[in-house]
Amino acid sequence: MQHGEALAAAAGDASLAEAVASGAHEQLEPRLRAMLAYALKLTRTPAAMTEADVDALRRQGLDDRAIVDANQVVAYYNYVNRVADGLGVELEPSWPAEARRRRPYAGLDQLPSIGADELPWLSVEQMREVDRIAVEEAGMLLEQMMENAGRSLAAVARQMLGGSAAGKQVAVLAGPGGNGGGGLVAARHLAAAGAAVNVTLDRPPSELAPVPSRQHALARAAAVPVAHAEPPASNPELILDALLGYSQAGPPREATARLIEWTSGRRVLALDAPSGLELASGSLHEPHVGGRRR
């Protein structure tokens, strides 16, 4: 990140750039946090700005000149970003290849848009509580919940494959927890529906949690091939992302990251949150599961 470097130099502290870029703003001092909140809102939802957004800066001690300057920096970088994206500007060859790689764009404008208020939603904390109540108070078995999730995922996958999975190539990427367990269930159901399914775990089967481990045994018993760590060599029509669930935190690492990178430009159906999207903070980490590359 070009300006991550400039920020690290100005601050004498590389961790600040990481915190700012990743959206981990809660650890920053309130004045800077307020400026970044203003910057993000103005960048993401410019039409939603109100005078209250300026008042929030005043409460942190910014006078009108400081507010004008903050606004100018936000506006200037949006200008620079549009120049860069609109004219195809690449970073200089002196930057590492990883920094120069253009990110695959998820094509968010192709997705149906639903207003935040039109859809009931739960926070990550509330979702944990729902899971806890289902198991501890209602007495539902984790196996039942996983089976329901995986069977429903397989049903959606069949729809996406044109109504029938017969003869279709499907790859399932599965993590070690409940999310991965749901993926293993879906793999079993799709295999039963005639699909050529293979599962890739992000770690050895011995590291699966107990219930997903039993789902792994069931999938193996149903003759579903299960590999781990290395992305499959196949070119599937559909990938099921069951790597990371709603409680994921921080950037994906190691084999998980490699598997996510492998999905780039391919068709993906995510069980729960797409891997790489941290719901608690709204941070979209690198790498993350996106949509089809346009």
């Binding site: 910057a39 993000l40 960048t43 920096v73 120049v83 860069a84």
Partner: protein, 64 residues
């Protein structure tokens, strides 16, 4: 490097500036704006200004 032609002599510039060097007046105004906003006198510290830049570019998923 960019999808459009660039002005002769722009090879030495940062790519972001070279990209619109065909409009020389806009390029000059851009450089002046950049220096004023990011390095000129301001109640905002250099760190605060660069932090805002990073937050905006990250929100735009742009490496610049």
């Amino acid at each position: 490097m960019v999808w459009v032609r660039t002005a002769p002599g722009s090879e030495q510039m940062a790519n972001i500036l070279a990209s619109h060097s065909l409009n020389e007046a806009a390029l000059e105004a851009h450089v002046r704006l950049y220096r004023t906003i990011m390095f000129g006198d301001s109640p905002l510290s250099r760190t605060e200004r660069e932090a805002i830049a990073v937050a905006v570019s990250a929100a735009n998923e742009c490496f610049y």
